[in-house]
Every structure is written in C-alpha cells, then in structure tokens.
Subunit: 351 residues, 4 copies
C-alpha cells in the first residue's frame, strides 16, 4: 500500500478546489479504510466547490471534499467487527452522536449533532477514505461501482418516496435533479398507478421519461395544477415527492394534491417562503413531512432489496458521466449546467 | 307540537342577527327533527354575526345561524333508522357528498363538497332544527345538555390531539381559545408527560390551568421557544397542537418542536404566512398535519369514551356562560372580548 | 327487457344445483338491476354446490347461487344516485348493517351482521341480479368482463397483501388457489424483493410461476422452512400471505417467518389447530392479522389502480375456463379437481 | 471499594441457590460496574431457582442469578461515554448482537442472538454487577430504588400496552401477575375508557383493583366472555393485553375481543395450544401481536415519562415485600405462593 494518495482538496475559503498528494488517512480502532473505486458528485459538493454562502458558513478548510462513494475495504481498526478487508462498501454519510434521544430510539437521521462526511470531516474525492465502522454498509459485489456509489442520494429518494404508501397511488415528483429522477423508478417499482414528473429543464424531463415517468410537466409551458388535476379526475394527486426546493413548485404541489394527500419534502428552499396554510394545508387535511438523510439502516436495506429487484438496472441511464479524479472541474461545470444526470469520479480512470 | 319557533336569523348581508318567529323546519324522509336544548357559540357564528370578509363571501341570507347543539328527537322521517323519538342527540355539522373518493373510503371529513350546518343550511340557534339522519349522533343521557352541545368543537380538539401519540409525550398547545383549552385535558387524560399551554390572554391561560395545563406560556412576557426548550432538556417538544392560527405562534411552535416532532395544525391563519421550511421543517424531519373537522364517527366515539372516563366532569369549568336565545348579542360580545370560556344558548331558559 | 331469466338454483338441501327459468328480480328504491355478463366461480360456490357442513348450516334454499360478477346496469331504483343505466359494474358481496360501531367508523368489512350475496340473498349465477346501491362498484369500461368479475376475490388478495408493507420485502405465499396466485403479481407489482409461492399442487405452482413467482416450493418435495430460510440468509421471510387454511402450512409459515414478521391470514382452516404461540409467535415478535373481506372501498380503489398499472394484463393467464351458465356442473368439477385457475360463467355464451 | 461481595449463586444443576462471597466482577473497556441498591425478583428467577425444564435446558451453572435492578455507578471502563460514576442506573437485560438485520434497523428486542443478564451471563442478585455500557439506562434520582428496579418488567407491561392505541379504548388484561397488574395503571393513565382485569387469584385481583382496574373478573366464578361482552354492549373489547400464558385465558380473550381488536400477547404458554383461527381470528379480523422484551430505548423513555406523570406513585402498592439478599429463599416462596405483588431484594438491608 502506498503512503500517499491523490485527493481533491478545498485548501482555503473561496471557489475552486485542488488536486493534492496527501498522506493516506490514519485508521482509528473503530475506523475502516476504504480504497475508493467510485465517488459520485452531489449538489452539496458543488456548493462547497463554488463556495456559496451556506458553504462559507459551515465548511472549515483545509478539507478533502466528497461524500458519496463505493470502494473496497483495505484495512480495519483493531475493534472493528462490522466488516473485513476485501468487502465492497459504501458509507452512510451522517456521523451521529449516539447519545441524544433521537439516537437512543434509533432515529439516527434526526440526531441534532450530526456531522457529515466530506463537509465536517475529510471526504472521499480521493483514492482512500477513512470511515467510522458505524457508517459502513456492505454492498452486493455484483453491483457496478458507480451504482454502488450513488446509493447515498438514492437513499434520500427512497426515504422520501417510502415515507408513506406508493402502491396503487398517483404520484407527483416536483424537481428532476438526480434525486428527483431516482424517485421515479422507485415509485414505479412500488406499484404507483401513475408517476408524473415536473421540471423546467427539458433534458432532465427526458431522463425522467427514460427512467419511467408516465407524464412530464414543464411548468413554464403549462399549468401544473391543471395538468395534475386533469390526470386525477379533478381530485388531485395522492402523493407529492417534493425534490426541487423551489418556492413556486412547492406551492403548486400543495394545490395539486388531493385532500388528505401526503407531501414529502426533501428539496431545501434557499430561504423562507410564503404558504397559504389555511386553504392549502389545514382545510384540506394535507400531511407535510420533512425528510432528511436516510434511516439507519432501514433505508439502506430497502435500497439493497430494490437493487436486487431490478432498480440497479433501471438506474443505469442516470449515470451520464464517468470521469477521472483530475476532471473534478468538468464534473462541477456539468453540475452547474444541469445538462447531466449523475457524474461519477473514478479514481482508477486515467486522466 | 307548535307550528312556529323562535330562531336567530341572519336576514341580510351585514352585521347582526335577529330573533324571529318562523315555521318549524319540514322533515324529509331521511331527516330528524330535534328540539334544541343547548346550542353553543363558535367563532364561526361570531364571524357570521359580525359579517367578516369570509362570511360575506360564503353565507347567503336569510339563514338560521348556529351549528353546535344537543337536543331531543321529536320527529323522524319515514326512512330514518339511525335514531328514534326521545333520543338525546347532537349533530356532526359537516354534511358530506357521499359520492367522492374521500367519502367512498370513509374519510368523510375530507370530502371536497362538504356543506356546513348553520353556514350553508339552516342551523340550530333555534327551538328546533332538522338534521339529516346521516349527521345524527346519539348521546349518553346522563351528560348535561351544555356538555352534550360542545362535543362538536371538542371533536376538533380530540381529532387534533389524537392525530398521533400523546401517552408519555411532551405536548405544547398554542392558542387557548375554547378548542385549545379543551385539548389540554384530552392530552392529560391520554397520559402526556407534560402539557404546556400558550396564549397572550391571561384569562384564558387561567382556564387552561384550571383544566390541567402543567405550564403556562405568555409569549408577550417570555420567549416561548426558550421556555419549551428548557422544559424539554433542550431538545424541544414531542407534539404541537396548533390552535391559534397566529403566524408568530406557528413559527415559534416549529422552533419549539424537537427533531421529528408532530405538529398538528387546526387553527386557521387569516392569510398566507412565511415559513422557513428548510431550517424548521425539512432538515429537522417535522411532520405537519392539517386537521379539519372530525372523523366520522371515530372522533365521536373517542369523545364519548373520554366523557365516560371523566372528561365531561373536567370540562365543566370551561362553560362560563349559559344564556337564553334572546341574549345572543351578549354571547357575541363575550366572544369578541375573549373574556369567556364557552357560551351556551339554552332555548329553554327564560329571557 | 324479458320478464324471466335463466338462473342456477339451489332448490333444496343436498348436493347439486339446477338451471331454472325464474322471474327477473324486483328492484327496490335503493337497488340496482344488473345484466350479468360474467360471473366467476368461488370455493364458496363449490361448498354450497357440494353441500358441505358449512353450507348445510348456513344456506336456506331455495337460492340463486353466485356472488362474483360483472355486468351492465339495466335499471335503477327511484332513490339510486351512485350509478346509472349503462354503467359497467361489479358488486361488493358483503351487505353490511350500517348501524354497528364497525360500520360507523368505516370498517364495514368487520360488521358483525354481514350478509353475503349468493349465500344469504339471491346471487348472480343468472342473467340478472339485483344489488343494493351501497354494494355497487363502477368499473373502467375497457376491462374485459371476466377480469371485471374476478375483482371480488382479487380484492381479498389485495386486502391481504396490502395489509402491510410489500415494497423491498421478501414475501411467502402459502397456498396457490386462485386468491393465492392473484397475490403473487400484486406483491411483485408492489416491489417485493422476492416472492415465494408454496403449494402441493404442481399445476397451480405452474400458474404461480406464470404470474410472476420467483421461487416455487412444494412441501411434499422439500422442507419449506429450510428453503425459505436459505433464500433469506437464515433470517426468515418478512411477510407471509397465508392463503391455504392448511394447519401444516400455517405452522410452517410461522417458522419460516423472520422475527417481527407480518403474517396475514386469509385462508380458513376447517377446524381449530395447534400453534406453538410461545416459540413461534410471542418470543419472536410476530404479528398475525386475520383478514376478511375487502375494505369498502379502499380495496376496490387499489384494485382499480393496480388494474390500470398493468395488473389486469398480468392476470389473464389465471382465467383458464369460460363457460356458459348451463355448464355450471363442469365448472364445479374443475373446482373439485384443482386443475384450473379461475373458471368464469358467461351467461351470454351459447351452451 | 471491597474486593469481594455477597452474591446469590446457582452453583450446580438442580433446585436452590446459595449465598456466596465472590470477587467483584471485572470491568471491561465498555462495561459499567454498578453497586446494586435494589434487585426485584422475576418469574424467570424463580424458574432458575426451582430448576424447571426450561432452566435445565438453558442455564449453565455456576451463575449469579437476577436481572432486574437499580444501583449506583461505581466504576466505568476506559471507553464508556454513556454514563459516569455516581449515576443512578438500571439495566436493559437483553444483550444483543448488534450485527443482525433486526439490530441494524433498531429492532434490538427482536435480535435472534439475544443473551439475557442473569440467565446467560452473571446477574444482579449481588452487591455489584458489571453491565455492558450499551445496556445502561440512567434513572431520575428522585425515584425510590425499588421503583427504579422494577422498570424492566414494567417495560414489558408498557411495551405490551402501548403496542397500539389505548386512549378511549376498552381494555381487558388477562393474568394479574406483577406485569399484568402493572399494565392496569398504564392503560388507565393512557386514557382507556375502562380496564377489566382477569385472574383466578383473588389476592392479585385485589391488587389490580388497588392499582386502578374498573372491573375484576374471576373466570372460576363467572364466564369472562359474557362479562366482557355485557360491559361492551355485546361487541367485545377493543384491546386485550394477554399476560397469563394460560391456554384457556388466551382462547377466552379471543372470544371476548371485538371484531378488529388488538390482542397483544406477552404471557408465555408452557406448550402449544389449540386455537380456532377461522372463527376467532380470521373471520373477525383480529390482530395478534407477539410481544417480547422492551424496545431499546423507546420503551424506557415511555416508562420514564409515565413515572414523571405519576406512574411511580401509582405503582407503590405493588411492591409488597422488601428483603435482604440473604432472604432470597423467602422471596422465592412468595413467588411460588402468588400471595405477593413484587418482592425486591435490597443488598443494603440487614439480614
């Protein structure tokens, strides 16, 4: 094993990032060292790269960026029992406190003191990453590395979609970023009667279609509330999966929901927004669920089962770009353009 | 039986109402004629009396006002099987369509075509009222008439409070109008660890205390988020019952809720309000439930069981005024002043 | 419209039934007269035909047999509002009392005073049948008549399967009679990771395979507990759908279930059976659900949505025989042989 | 701190146990050493003492007996973060594997590889006990030691009772051993409309009455099904908490349950029993829940909250005997006689 590795580093406050040769991370008694085979790029990575106000307020350089990944275990700490050298693994990226009431009752995803891999600790845009044993998930070995890597954001999609019933329901997905698109085949596999996908970006609507959406809605071209109501005999949709964080989309989704509908909110609005709670939520008996992270480990088990049942195959078109670590800049430009599905960095690829 | 009766009538658009002598209502084949023994006054009645914008947009005079009531069945239509002359009854005030998907699956309280007794049809501020058989609920005869009458708003409180677990939970009630106050003993009887009640009105906080609140919060005097957090070891409250419809209270209640809390919303804000969905709902995994009406008939069964288990006795201090029909104006002034619990008109009382 | 019709009649206690020409049923003010286009044969019909002890204790001849059906509305009573002449309809066969607590809270399928079409009232093995308005379900017109007819037993399968989560779960179906077989594609469409089907009859296992079962288990040839445990890495299956009523299968299914599994019981054992509650249920935290009938109308809505999502197409191989009314005897022989899927009588077919 | 301690030891297969002076247990890096202040006696302890077939098949002497306890932390291992010296603690007695799917999803009480304190490892009928950090629960310091100690069996009662709704429900408790009796005030505090308690032992029925039962049923004197049906207007009870493990009581409880009732089973039958699944469970839509252990840590949080809300006070009459360690034989005789509530050994009491 080498002593150093290539890693994408945020060295100081401000935009950009740099490829550096740095020491391979030390491995504590309950840590696992993973050789990274694939590490997919998330909007959060882009926020850190571009150094937006959220990143400036939270991230403390120097830091190795990246949190979505898959790789092979190459070393384990002395007390590790959950996995062994040679396992193919991914990481749950929320590092929880284990000591608050939410952790005590197994609602780790709601821990108040969560730290995030690649945001608050060194991440996985690198050849190796050290992960606490408690955050390790062992993958089926027959899944391609890129599809292993995207299980973390897929877990967000599954957590959101499966926060209530889907079978025999009508479903509206608002926002076709990668997580929104992922939720389309999840809802289809769960037996939704119809899945409608909404976005302003025609490229991403096309991907949603490719992954199984029955009906596409571009709110710049038609009134989404009208389209959804027409599709649902005037009553509105049973389930909304809100993946955009866009204020207008959120308000439209409430109006497109039937009385008593479930509205699961994952997309993060960038600022407070106005909602007509009386008319759109209370008098119509809606249920709004804030969704964050992935349930440990229920969501990961669900992802594994869905992969086995065919989801892995269905998601392949979503991975539109595979790039060497050196081309992280290209990956970030793709994110900015939104003309991509999921971009995955493969440290083993030649630059 | 007489041919005419006294009734409180809204005769034309504009404030006020008038006592009139009018014919006793006709009884259709599936209707029930009830001699009204007690009819309690609701905020909705006050809105109609005062002729606020909501009332002006919805109510079509002439109309007999009033919807909360209890009385004795004095006649039934030819096809009625659900009750008989001599029964003591109250009315579910939501008259549903029976023909939409929500009605078909038993979620009548979410019917899109609901009409309301005393708002869209002639009501019960009168000596007699005709009610569709489907809306009749038979009461235990040993409950005083005034406590029989208030079961409809109590049903709102029970529906809100029991929309999730209460036993062994910490509960915050925001807004101590009559329904908010009613929810205090409901939560206590259901085994809440602690019930906190919040209002700006000291009189009503006093009533909440009398009905069992463990902790009173006046947000004009202290920071409710701080008080609640302190009471809950910093984590926030398990359950919010939002009964105020006040924008500030709603926002404070979200911040006072623990990660993953249930926030049940019954109070109707008078206009859209700004919410920090990302920080206060999504990232913290809150669940917001819009609550409307009462479940037919689950909620009424729950009310009956709670009455039998002691709730009727606990609620007695809430009924602060009993007035003859003629003093409807006094009742409305009491509503406007907020220096009352529940006011009940008793048609049998001498003016 | 003619005045008389052909009907399959049980005229007296004892085995057999007779084709008779009898008057078309009278239509009360809340009844619907349906011209029967397809009426499928159920095990219950066979019990009545063969006059087993259950039938002898319950059925009071003379009676027109049959309860699963689809047809066209040809007349409606004066007070009917739920459907109109020309609608294509099926019937919920449980005629409930509307006046008990279960009915009051919308749990009609649990009514204690349920009467059953074709068992306690004249049924639909006939050219026409009168059905209470409350029991009418309007079908999509593009569904073939035979697939419309089988929605009633399919509703049993859907009620059982959807009494808990299926998505991303491992599922064991014990008993591959028609309802058991139907539950296979339901579980598959709902995103089960794997569906195992168990029966002693190879013909019916073959049908289960054709409808999507991933793994077939013949307990006369292999140990089902071992097979299921092996398939589930030793832990046992997440969900059991018990469709056999066979004592041995029930006991095996409990042992094949993982700790905390859901075991939904629809198959009716013919007599009491011995269960090791301590070892097989209590210490392992199983949940056993008794399932009866179909939820009104949630289950029917689910069936409709699943049909629209592709279930109608998937079920086609299950309908192995279409026969004229005259060949009811042949249908009953098929039932006895178990060498069939679903047999459907079509009154319009030439004998 | 001394080097040795008194402990109640099972030294060899066969009835009885002996007080020995043995070394204080060693404390591993993740263990906690507790000075035992109170340790209550459970039926399991009696089975081991009496050396019944279950004990003979499971327990491997020599062993320090006992598992219910409360005490003060006097030492912690090097890696312990969950508690500190001076904390008042109790122990969750199920020591789980942390590595199976049930553990992974937070359903620790369903772990297949559970070991039990005082059964599979040295227990707490001693002056000191070493407990894995993961099994430590920190108590409120104002709770008396004996009431701290009984939280483990109380957790069984709470887990059983709160496995579904209690508020506004009718409840039948079958079996008034200590856990059955404990479930009475739990159901009352949760707002049950009525709590009926059934046992053949008049002493224990008296304790159930003292702890809040509304109605006592002695099945040797009256027909429990008839009594329950009469109390529930003929429909049967909403919730059964089966605490007896007695075959007859289990069968009666099914017949006493209303259609759709919840039947939560905690009592362990000593052998398989015959159940009429068709008539008593399936056709009536009952739900049978096997209950084992306590949810970690939801149940313990619920116990804590209920104690704070008044349950600690209500349970005081249940603790009928407080004895020094030396009088373990007396405690066991009390268990055998059933003429006791809960017996608690207090190592600090003078013999």
């Amino acid at each position: 094993m080498p002593e150093t590795m290539r890693a994408i580093r945020k060295l100081a406050p401000g935009p950009g990032a740099q490829l550096q040769q740095i020491p391979i991370p030390a491995v504590g008694p309950r840590d696992v060292l993973v050789q990274v085979m694939a590490t997919s790029v998330c909007g959060t990575d882009y926020h850190i790269y571009a150094w937006d106000p959220w990143a400036a307020g939270r991230v403390k350089p120097p830091l190795t960026v990246g949190h979505e990944m898959a790789g092979e275990v190459v070393a384990v700490g002395a007390d590790v029992t959950a996995c062994k050298v040679g396992d193919y693994v991914s990481a749950e990226t929320h590092i929880v406190c284990n000591n608050c009431p939410r952790c005590h009752v197994g609602e780790y995803h709601l821990c108040e003191r969560t730290r995030i891999l690649g945001v608050d600790t060194n991440g996985c845009f690198a050849e190796y990453v050290a992960v606490p044993e408690q955050n390790i998930w062992i993958n089926d070995k027959d899944i391609p590395w890129d599809l292993q890597s995207i299980q973390e954001p897929l877990g967000n999609a599954v957590h959101t979609a499966m926060a209530g019933e889907l079978t025999a329901k009508s479903v509206l997905v608002t926002g076709c970023g990668p997580i929104g698109i992922m939720s389309v085949p999840v809802a289809k596999m769960a037996g939704a009667e119809v899945v409608m996908a909404m976005d302003v970006n025609e490229y991403r609507l096309g991907l949603a279609r490719e992954l199984g959406a029955d009906l596409l809605i571009n709110p710049t071209k038609e009134d989404p509330v009208e389209v959804v109501r027409k599709q649902t005999r005037g009553y509105g949709v049973d389930v909304v999966l809100e993946m955009s964080g866009n204020a207008g989309a959120i308000r439209q989704s409430l109006k497109a929901a039937r009385n008593g509908a479930r509205v699961s909110l994952l997309g993060l609005p960038s600022k407070p927004l106005e909602i007509d709670l009386a008319a759109d939520v209370i008098m119509r008996g809606l249920v709004l669920q804030g969704i964050t992270g992935r349930k440990m480990w229920q969501t990961w088990y669900q992802v594994r089962s869905l992969y086995r049942a065919g989801l892995a195959e269905r998601l392949k078109p979503l991975i539109t770009h595979r790039l060497p670590l050196e081309q992280v800049g290209t990956a970030m430009e793709l994110m900015a353009s939104a003309e991509c599905g999921k971009a995955v960095l493969m440290p083993g690829l030649k630059a």
